[in-house]
């Protein structure tokens, strides 16, 4: 694929090794790969789509394509995570476009906070996570994807560029605009969330 970075010899992709073992009939490799990849891609899809059922469909579909790809996988080309995230991003984009503008889902993303006394910090964190998810839902799809990849999935800009099929500068522009929009949303909610200067 254009722009895919080749891995250097000393950058072994553990996921690729697992995938190739799966392709030789090793079921345990599939279980390991699932544990490594699915929480991340499912979490990403859920944050981008805001809908649990759709996020699960996307995660399952992306892994299905990975299993299909396994016999063809060649080490030294793309990283497995980059490949899978790229599929996830495209699937999310398809779904968002089918949904139409402004139809952002708002399923609960975070686990509900434990309401027992003395866990104020946990509740505040859960409230923040919820507020962020609501704010994310107001972003245009590309900004949302870029921001989630960068600041929640923790990907570097070059990898985000490969995943979204755009240039690194475009990624920086998307994340900058996305963060400005989020800041505006969250600032307006700040009083309601009861944050003091920390």
């Amino acid at each position: 694929m254009d722009g895919m970075q080749n891995l250097s010899d000393d950058q072994r992709d553990a996921d690729a090794e697992l995938l190739q073992r799966y392709a030789t009939g090793d079921a345990a490799a599939a279980r390991l790969l699932t544990t490594r990849l699915v929480p991340r891609i499912h979490g990403h899809a859920l944050r981008v789509l805001g809908d649990r059922a759709e996020a699960e469909d996307v995660a399952q579909e992306a892994m299905l394509r990975l299993w299909r790809q396994a016999p063809e996988w060649r080490t030294g080309e793309a990283k497995v995570t980059t490949w899978v995230y790229r599929v996830v991003a495209n699937l999310c984009t398809d779904r968002l476009r089918r949904r139409g503008a402004g139809a952002a889902g708002l399923d609960d993303v975070a686990e509900p906070a434990d309401p027992t006394p003395g866990v104020t910090q946990k509740m505040q964190q859960a409230a923040r996570a919820d507020a962020l998810q609501q704010a994310l839902a107001t972003l245009p799809e590309r900004q949302r994807q870029a921001v989630v990849l960068r600041h929640i999935d923790g990907m570097a800009n070059p990898e985000i560029a490969e995943i979204l099929g755009i240039g690194v500068e475009a990624v920086e522009s998307l994340t900058a605009r996305g963060k400005r929009a989020l800041a505006a949303q969250l600032s307006a909610q700040r009083d309601a969330l009861g944050f003091d200067d920390e």
């Binding site: 079921a27 699932t34 699915v38 399952q60 923040r128 507020a131 962020l132 800041a183």
Partner: protein
């Protein structure tokens, strides 16, 4: 114009990272079922011999089932439940009686019992 700076925003991102959404067991099962269905299975010859054997037996789950079945089989042979012929005992003692049954004398009423049902005549 807002005073919401990068640090404040980062607190929100950190909160999101600290609360990863849960993957349901159901989703995991579906994904693994797909993997199983699509896994190339004809490559035993490419595996090292111990891996190939492991695959043939179905891994740990398969071997434990096999071991259990074998153990049960041995136990039933050594100490057969009532109603089962003690073939092993006969064999060891040398009295290998083969019963012939005159079918005309056989009681054709079959009792339905011992299967965990009690079928009572009502």
């Amino acid at each position: 114009m807002n005073d919401f700076d990068d640090d404040a925003l980062e607190d929100f991102f950190a909160a999101a990272r600290a609360n990863p959404p849960r993957v349901t067991a159901d989703l995991q099962a579906r994904i693994l079922a797909d993997a199983e269905a699509l896994m190339p299975k004809s490559n035993l010859l490419k595996l090292p011999w111990h891996r190939a054997l492991w695959q043939l037996f179905g891994g740990a789950a398969g071997l434990s089932g096999l071991a259990t079945a074998a153990a049960v089989g041995i136990w039933v042979g050594v100490a057969p439940p009532d109603g089962m012929p003690d073939l092993a005992g006969q064999f060891v003692s040398g009295t290998w009686d083969v019963e012939t049954v005159d079918t005309a004398e056989v009681d054709t009423e079959i009792e339905f019992g011992g299967f965990g049902w009690d079928m009572e005549e009502s």
